[in-house]
Symmetry: D2
Subunit: 92 residues, 4 copies
């Protein structure tokens, strides 16, 4: 997933800056609703990282395993994928 | 996905009954928080249907396309899969 | 919450019809992704019911308790409200 | 919300560290599923911050406005609260 790594790192650095921004808001007694809005922005940014990692994973690791000769490996990757999707979508 | 269809239909029939149960609760002026709890139960049941349909889809349609000879078809199925996951996880 | 009840019942009846629609789709072997799209529509409709019930609850039950003379009751309603919000937002 | 500020700042500092941890994982080519698991942990931690801010907001700002003499202000705070809950629960 080399091609995607740089984009993911850029997003993560921006997220790190956003988290520090929220810390400053709390320090400066910002209005709760503004803090919540900023936390929501970080959550959206993190979701986009998660989707990008999941996308790379599906297109490389999972697709390779499914196209490969080892049926048991393909099965294991699909199980792992569905577990990740479940966790990601917060399915109870 | 024949094997899964019966399980999915059973879940859907149970969900239909649960929705009618919520209608009765509203008719009988049940306490809001109890209505919310019951709506949450229906949402959980629906998510489980969605995960089961997604699981069958990944293991059959997507895996077949990826293992098949038509690279463009595999690509299209993976795009479609990721769009479904995004929608399911409510990624903004 | 009389004023909202009719709107909520209308939504619930529509949801019941949508759930039966999904059952038909599964019966008729509809394409998985179309089933998922329809399940997502039901989930959105249910969320809107939940938000409407929560809204009525906050504006009536909670606001009355908070404005009322019984501090312990107000506290209990606020705890209950936050528990409902947590469940609704699927906070782990 | 003084009492809660310190707890929120501690959580935010831990989140900042977790985000740097994800950056390291990507640098070191960690397995996608492990990256996803770590991103999910940051999301859970952020949600807990959001709930804690929302909780403080409801118990102080909103409750004060509702208990206060200014009905229009109370109404505005309740609107704002429901908008925050909607955004937080990602209601479409």
């Amino acid at each position: 997933m080399k091609a995607d790594d740089k984009a993911i790192q850029n997003r993560l650095r921006r997220i790190e800056g956003q988290v520090r921004g929220v810390q400053r808001m709390v320090d400066e007694d910002a209005y709760c609703v503004d803090v919540l809005t900023q936390v929501a922005a970080v959550q959206t940014a993190l979701e986009q990282v998660a989707v990008q990692v999941l996308d790379a994973h599906v297109r490389h690791c999972v697709a390779d395993a499914v196209a490969g000769p080892d049926g048991a490996d393909a099965e294991a990757r699909l199980d792992e994928l569905m577990a990740a999707v479940r966790r990601f979508a917060k399915v109870r």
